[in-house]
Amino acid sequence: MSIDLSQFHQVFFEESFEGLDAMESELLNLSPDSVDAETVNTIFRAAHSIKGGAGTFGFVQISEFTHDVETLLDEIRSGQRALTQTHVDLFLQTVDCLRAMMTSLNDGDQPDMTRAGELKQQLKAILAGQQPVVSSASGADDGAASNGSGGGAGVDEAEQDESASPRGWKIRFVPALDILQTGNEPFRMFRELQGLTETPIEVLVNQSALPEFSALEPEQCYLSWTIRVYGEVAEADLRAVFEWVEDDCQIDYIPLGQESESDQEGDAVVATELQAAADSTDETANKAADEVANATAVEDTVVTDTAKAEPTVDACSVVAEVAAPTAASANSSANNSAAAKAKPSRGGDNSSIRVSIDKVDSLINMVGELVITQSMLGQLGQDFDLSRLARLQEGLAQLEQNTRELQESVMKIRMMPISFAFSRFPRLVRDLGTQLGKKVNLVMLGENTELDKTVMEKIGDPLVHLVRNSLDHGLETTEKRKAAGKPESGTITLNAFHQGGNIVIEVKDDGAGLNEDKILAKAKQRGLVPAEASLTSEEIHQLIFLPGFSTADQVSDISGRGVGMDVVRRNINELNGTIEVKSQRGTGSTFVIRLPLTLAILDGQLVKVCNQTYIFPLVSIVESIQLQKQKLNNISGSQPVMKLRDEYIPILRLDRVFNLRRAGDDFDDPMLVVVEGDNEKIGIVVDDLLGQQQVVIKSLEQNYQKVAGVSGATILGDGTVALIIDISGIGKKLEARTSTSGPDKAA
């Protein structure tokens, strides 16, 4: 009888990813100056387990690769070989490589062995007694790692320098379909790329995946790009631009001059098809192509052959199109798998959850109690008379208590310690600190604070962005810190704790703090606030979260603070959370994130509109008031607004948003629920306010389909379904209505 081992693959991958996390964590604690034997043993055991498991399940690539890692570790732990920093760096790179290989296997793909082959050669060189060159010649490893503390014996400085700063890079960027919906904007990334070099970048767009117009889902991204960046730009700087989206795209970084033949053939195909596309366009396009064929003086030009793709000093930005699938795009996919992905794939993220036996025991206890109560009530029902009413009421109260406790126990199963989200930061801070030449202490507090698994998964990227920002733009250089009388090492503190039914996560640095003058000046310059405006410190701090602000240039010390902050806030808002910043010039900044403990249950305000019940998230409601129709005004005859104290808020009728049929002509004594989403207030007209209650959120997307303006549904006590309003979505609907259809007459 044979056993189907594939049923255990998922467990193997989960344990292996945990093993790799443990290896990484222990490697970061490992110092060649004082080698802790137990730390080396822990790393060895993790590698050994991965190798053994991979061998058992037939993942030969993993087991063979890990074999050499294990051999070197064994020599070190047995004292045959002294540990060096080169070894540590190499081990960290092997961890990255193994993670990428396992992610591919987990996704059902074959892992790209290019990087593994390079690392294996380096391991063999060490084992053979040669001095390896720890570098990233293929550009396929973690950029930060290649710039890591390194400096170990045998590192070929000249080769490293060449690797770090070639004469330019070719980047293939194939975003995931939903990248735009996550708030990540390719043009902002390209603008950042342009900021890395004075020579204009080339951007070639591949539009071959664009579907028929009728089949187009306009919020999805069908385009992909090839970008050439010229000049001495470090790979780590390129990677930093795309760090925010590395899990949402396929991306290759190829040093110019090191493109494979197939790359160049791909380019030739691109150029040929480009010419064909230019030939086939209408008169206007032909005219454009003619002009650009001559043009060094024209702002935009079209690449018509590969020779022209090589830039000159005074070449302008080159823009072009790719009209059909090319060898380049196919090759891109093949190469992309070589790029180390720092984390397990999304597919593997939500497959299972590890639960402590205590939580399961608690659940079983609760179910036992429930069964007893049900049995008691059943017995009571068989020969019930009024004399036993008190007993019935007691039993029902017991049932209610059991149900509530059961709910809490089940919710606890989804709760995980935030250390899962924090665990990536020691490596990130180490690599980025080394890269930036800054000394950084990372302090993590409250690592056992628990929050919902879904929230945990979604808060990871915003936290990375905040920590990276604090390190990059918050902490000063060592020289500046010394000059300011601060310790040479900056400190970044991550702190998590529960407060009033929420989890609070703080990202704090003891850096320079926000420069309010510069932020305000920048905001005024960009027209985000009126020129004559006088804002409080808190109001100025809020400016860094404005979308417009994030596109600011990065000339000043402070401008980087804004890059992507709007995305951070949007992501946190989508979790029904909030973010605020406290900062003092010269002392540092603290970003405070408040999140609900779970996304499965919501504190809601029930409202009535026509004969329907809707639910507003309580956290979004600013206030609810009686609507006074005489206070309504129309701006330019279109959007109704109401003056509420010192501000005008737009008014939206929920019955019109959802096309509800009203029995009478109009609202009879309507209520206005003022809500806030994306930092903007909206007044929503409803018929009546009902009660407030906790509701269990049911996914509309899973059970029906996505509906704009609705975040989910719930089943009320009477069995009816009520839709839960998505405040941000309603805001977008309002914006769409005002920009497309004009008037929406209020009540």
Partner: protein, 98 residues
């Protein structure tokens, strides 16, 4: 927002040509593609645009051209030009000579 002028349709991109507006604009454009002979794109009021917005225009341009119809610009704001350039879409959107 579409305004029919004889056998042509003008599509006004409004002030924001971005992801939150593309769904509505897509519907409007689909209607225009069904009805129109020629299409004029008005984008001189656009103060913010993004990849989703420009991708939608690109799809429209391709569709209209594939149908043998004419599409041309009636004003383009600097924001549209700059963002198109960053995304490598200037030529594809027929903006080079506009």
């Amino acid at each position: 927002m579409g305004v029919t002028v004889s056998q042509s349709v003008r599509i006004d991109c409004g002030t924001r040509l971005s992801i939150e507006c593309v769904e509505a604009l897509h519907q409007e454009m689909e209607q225009a593609v069904r009805d129109a002979q020629d299409i004029f794109l008005k984008a001189d009021d656009v103060q913010y645009c993004d990849t989703a917005g420009l991708q939608l225009l690109l799809a429209l341009v391709q569709t209209v051209q594939a149908a043998g119809l004419q599409i041309s610009w009636q004003g383009v704001s600097d924001v549209v030009r700059d963002t198109s350039k960053l995304l490598g879409l200037t030529s594809a959107l027929l903006l080079a000579t506009d």
